[in-house]
Symmetry: C2
Subunit: 162 residues, 2 copies
DNA sequence: GTCAGTGCAAACTTTTTGCAACTAC
DNA sequence: GTAGTTGCAAAAAGTTTGCACTGAC
């Protein structure tokens, strides 16, 4: 499915969701959905806010953004992530669930694709619980920070020996 | 290992960590570590702050709490979770890594133990990355909210048909 | 004695809320 | 017409920071 097609499909899904839940179909809501589905990757509220004003020429208030994101989360069209200290969102319709490697030192986030693991998690039987989605965050050190730390540690030990 | 023994062991680990990194061994730091290891479950900063003052009779400032938690995270004696919108911490020395079921509606968090899945995640080969720990958050509806939603949905469809 | 660490309050960031104006229905 | 939504600004919640003081080394 191409990008244009996806955007039309998610609009339909959103419309159904809004109808079913008795919410109004406002232009703001569709503009926000459309903006989100025009990005490929993660974004935070500030980015969405400024990008919508700059690129999409559609200014909505922050309050409306937060409001609409709540609906989109509930409609399973967007997922929320909280890596480290920053809250990020991501579109999720027709995008493969992936995992995230987060460097605990520099904060860099990378996506990891592991279909075998994905299936195992999705098939894990949970008592008294209806799984809708999940997040797997793998914390550790990226190659760069790992090297830097090893150097630092060596220096400290040397200092101590003096 | 009994609870008293664990507390002594983590003190030692923390002492080594502080020495290695050239930090001072202040009474506040040990009091915070001890408080954290006297709880079995998750806690947030506010809870830790008030509990330390009330139960432990040891008042530390919020600044020092945040400060010390950073060290404990780095020393792998505490893990940080960000479910939904609340940030929670949890001791992690000698406690089995577990997964979390989070109800997207009422926010209830439950621990899930699945050793097979745990091992698979821990053994997943990651290129250019040194895994230290991970978090698996399973989002969905708890039995209670699921029932409530089904009722609500039925009502909305009925309304629509009128 | 020195400087890392602490407490305090102010600042800052992110998210929520109250209310008047607006508009989808 | 009217109730759900929006925008704005103020408030709240959570975390960080600057600075004077303290105490671990």
């Amino acid at each position: 499915m191409d990008s244009q097609n996806i955007r039309e499909t998610v609009r339909q899904i959103f419309t159904e969701y809004l109808q079913l839940h008795g919410h109004r179909k406002t232009p703001e809501r569709y503009a926000i959905l459309d903006a989100i589905y025009s990005y490929d990757s993660h974004f935070d509220m500030e980015t969405l806010y400024t990008r919508m004003a700059d690129e999409k020429k559609f200014r909505v208030s922050r309050a409306t953004l937060y409001n609409t994101i709540l609906l989109l989360l509930d409609a399973h069209l967007v997922v929320k992530h909280q890596f480290g200290s920053s809250t990020q969102y991501e579109r999720c319709y027709l995008s493969h669930t992936h995992h995230h490697k987060i460097c605990t030192q520099c904060g860099k986030v990378e996506e990891v694709q592991d279909d075998a693991l994905r299936e195992l998690i999705e098939q894990s039987k949970l008592k008294q619980f209806v799984l809708s989605h999940y997040s797997l965050y793998l914390y550790g050190l990226c190659a760069k920070c790992n090297r830097a730390n090893k150097r630092k540690l060596k220096d400290n030990i040397k200092k101590k020996e003096k």
